[in-house]
């Protein structure tokens, strides 16, 4: 579907309450109204998405294990949300900008950021560990919904400069209750910025279920009030997430303005390692959603199409294992941290008072180093 043609209808119509879907849970291609007029991406694209998801899952499981071993200070897992993150992020180019939250580590991995650099912040080395400019990816943001405004501002700047750049940003279902979510949606729509908002509705904000965040039928409904198109998408269907995001990115790039895409998914793991989900949800709910696993769904489809050979499968497994080994290695290698660097990036213009404090810490360190052990 071309979002341009449908734009006027889309911005006035409420999204379907039934999630838009291209592959059902049994791995069958969906036909009819549920597709929202979008078509299934080609096998090549689907295979690529499959590969990325398998690798990302392996990464996520590995990092959760390392966190349990005490190697990381915290890790918000994306287990079960791979389709939502990878489908969306695969629809932008290396020239576009990404504004992620703490939840989107697998999206960053898909964007080509090294696991060691992604995990520096979760290990506690520095607040953000990758090259934000090289990857055109802002730091993983913690204050909820604040990054959405950065995405809108950057997109607006690009538009003023006539650069065909799109800014894609993620936020959670809980974050949609924040004032900054509202302000971001509104600024984007009023300014018609090339911004794509992905709302990852994993149905929980730590312990608080979606019903306590909104009385709207879907989070995508909110788009209508801002005068932008909104899509309520099956977030465990990577084909649908990719196709809808791709269309929204195209539309944004060609001057058609912002889009809000809600991916309905489920947070299979705890909020972070320090959370105890048994206090607020039933194991049977988790089991229910595990049976809707996004990777298995695509795998069934690819197998039924004869597109996933044993050779490809084992090659992907090998790649995933290699990445896991690399992740273990970079995490278990102690980082060399320089405490004096604490002072070096606060201001572009050096400050006397800070240089004094730096010298004081330097002297302390020198003294400590000189002390006999």
């Amino acid at each position: 579907m071309s979002l341009n043609v449908e734009h006027d209808a889309a911005r006035r119509a409420l999204p379907s309450e039934k999630p838009l879907r291209l592959l059902d849970n049994a791995g069958h291609a969906v036909t009819g109204a549920a597709t929202g007029g979008f078509s299934l991406p080609g096998t090549e694209t689907l295979l690529d998405l499959y590969r990325k998801m398998v690798v990302a899952r392996r990464f996520d499981v590995q990092v959760t294990a390392l966190t349990k071993q005490g190697r990381l200070a915290t890790y918000p897992s994306a287990y079960g949300q791979e389709a939502c993150e990878i489908g969306a992020v695969s629809a932008i180019t290396a020239d576009d900008w990404l504004f992620p939250t703490y939840r989107e580590s697998v999206a960053l991995l898909t964007r080509g950021i090294d696991p060691g650099d992604i995990l520096k912040s979760f290990r506690g080395d520095w607040h953000s560990g990758y090259d934000q400019r090289a990857h055109r990816t802002s730091p993983q943001t913690t204050p909820l919904a604040t990054q959405a405004l950065h995405a809108v501002g950057l997109a607006h700047a690009a538009r003023l400069r006539h650069d065909p750049i799109v800014a894609l940003t993620f936020m959670g279902d809980g974050a949609t209750s924040e004032g900054d979510a509202h302000e971001a949606f509104n600024f984007a729509a009023v300014w018609q910025t090339p911004t794509v908002f992905i709302v990852q509705n994993n149905q929980f904000a730590i312990s608080v279920p979606l019903a306590r965040q909104t009385h709207a039928a879907t989070l995508a409904d909110k788009a209508v009030g801002y005068g932008m198109p909104g899509f309520h998408v099956d977030g465990n269907d990577v084909a649908a997430m990719y196709a809808v995001t791709h269309a929204a990115v195209d539309r944004a790039r060609s001057g058609g303005g912002p889009t809000l895409i809600e991916g309905l998914t489920y947070r299979v793991e705890a909020h972070t390692n320090s959370d105890d989900p048994t206090r607020y949800r039933h194991a049977r709910d988790v089991e229910h959603w595990k049976r809707r696993d996004p990777i298995e769904r695509l795998e069934k489809y690819l197998v039924s199409e004869g597109a996933l050979t044993e050779a490809t499968r084992s090659e992907i497994t090998d790649a995933a294992e290699a990445l896991a080994a690399h992740t273990r290695e970079v995490i278990t290698t102690e980082a060399e941290l320089d405490p004096l660097e604490l002072f070096d990036h606060v201001y572009a213009n050096p400050r006397a008072a800070l240089l004094e404090q730096r010298a004081r810490l330097e002297a302390e360190l020198a003294e400590a180093a000189a002390e006999p052990r």
Partner: protein, 341 residues
């Protein structure tokens, strides 16, 4: 006062004319926008209206609405989008309509404007300016007269400045816009209409420097923004009492010019700081602590704070009782035991 000179690299200086601080700020924005097309200006009512204080008067007419425009009415949105624009290489100058209305942007300013550069190890600087009309003494109803400077000044990563006169207003705003660090640019509302003869463009001292704006030998009065005038009035009045007051205009709260302040205090051996904001946890506490830490053995008396009371800002008919006045300054100085021999 340190002599002002024509801004290097600018066009020929105009002949001096009477200019208000609002006019000087307007000229600074105009010149910055003309010089650098990365400079964009937005906020509430800054377009056709020219801002509620007319600081952006005529700019949209001159530069068009892709350089200066009215944004939706949401302060977090204004600052949050400015962050994104700055990441992309623009130099946004955004306006908060009144200081109390900057509070919706508090999270964006404190959690991101202040921290982005550090978080990214210097890869992502945010060269943006948040202009905040500040302080009272304009008969404003509630929420129109706050002094929020200490919130910003106590946040590492921010540069916080406040000019007290038209020449500094022009020069410091130009410097703030050119800075690679984000600047909270506070404009004392009660001084917007104060006039001074000025030839533009003008470059005064670098904005991180405090200035001795009146020399004296017995006391150092430290003020910023609106209280520089209060300090000068007190200095005038004190002459009759045989007291010689030196006045320091801080200009920048963060960074703090310890050198200039300490040099003055060591000369006079007595210091008092004046601000409109409440005393408790106010910026004066920082000034008093710094002055004392560095100059304790040169001080003949404790450092005094002459400030607003520790109350919410009063309604217009009662604000005169709250604001520090020259009389109150002199009364406070009289509380010291003087031995000028």
């Amino acid at each position: 006062m340190t002599a002002t000179k024509t801004r290097s690299g600018g066009g020929a200086a105009s002949a001096p004319t009477q200019l208000t601080m609002a006019g000087a700020l307007n000229a600074a924005l105009r010149d910055a926008m003309a010089e650098d097309d990365r400079v964009v200006v937005y906020g509430e009512d800054v377009g056709p209206l020219g801002g509620v204080f007319r600081v952006t008067d005529g700019l949209q007419h001159q530069f068009g609405d892709e350089r200066i425009w009215d944004s939706p009415l949401a302060e977090s949105g204004i600052v949050g989008t400015a962050i994104g624009m700055a990441i992309y290489g623009m130099r946004p100058v955004v306006e908060m309509q009144f200081d109390a209305f900057s509070y919706p942007a508090f999270e964006q300013i404190v959690s991101h404007v202040a921290k982005m550069r550090n978080r990214t190890k210097g890869r992502v600087s945010l060269p943006l300016v948040v202009r905040i009309p500040c302080a009272g003494d304009i008969g404003g109803v509630e929420h129109h007269s706050d002094s929020s400077e200490s919130y910003w000044a106590s946040t590492p990563g921010l540069t916080v400045v406040m000019p007290s006169n038209p020449a500094d207003a022009y020069s410091m705003l130009r410097e703030a816009i050119a800075s690679d660090d984000p600047v909270i640019f506070m404009e004392p509302k009660s001084r917007y209409w104060a006039k001074a003869p000025l030839a533009l463009p003008v470059t005064t001292a670098p904005m991180h420097r405090a200035l001795v704006v009146r020399e004296g030998s017995d006391v150092t009065l430290i003020g910023y923004g609106p209280t520089v005038r209060t300090a000068l009035e007190a200095a005038d009045a004190a002459v009759d009492e045989g007291l010689s007051i030196e006045v320091v205009d801080l200009r920048s709260l963060s960074p703090f010019d310890d050198e200039t302040v300490s040099a003055s205090v060591r000369k006079t051996s007595r210091a008092a700081v004046i601000h409109e904001a409440a005393q408790f946890g106010g910026f004066g506490a920082e000034v008093a602590a710094r002055v004392t830490e560095r100059n304790f053995f040169h001080l003949a008396a404790p450092v005094l704070r002459i400030t607003g009371f520790d109350i919410p800002y009063p309604s217009p008919k009662l604000e005169e009782y709250h604001l520090p006045t020259a009389d109150r300054v002199l009364a406070a100085l009289a509380s010291w035991e003087w031995d000028l021999s």
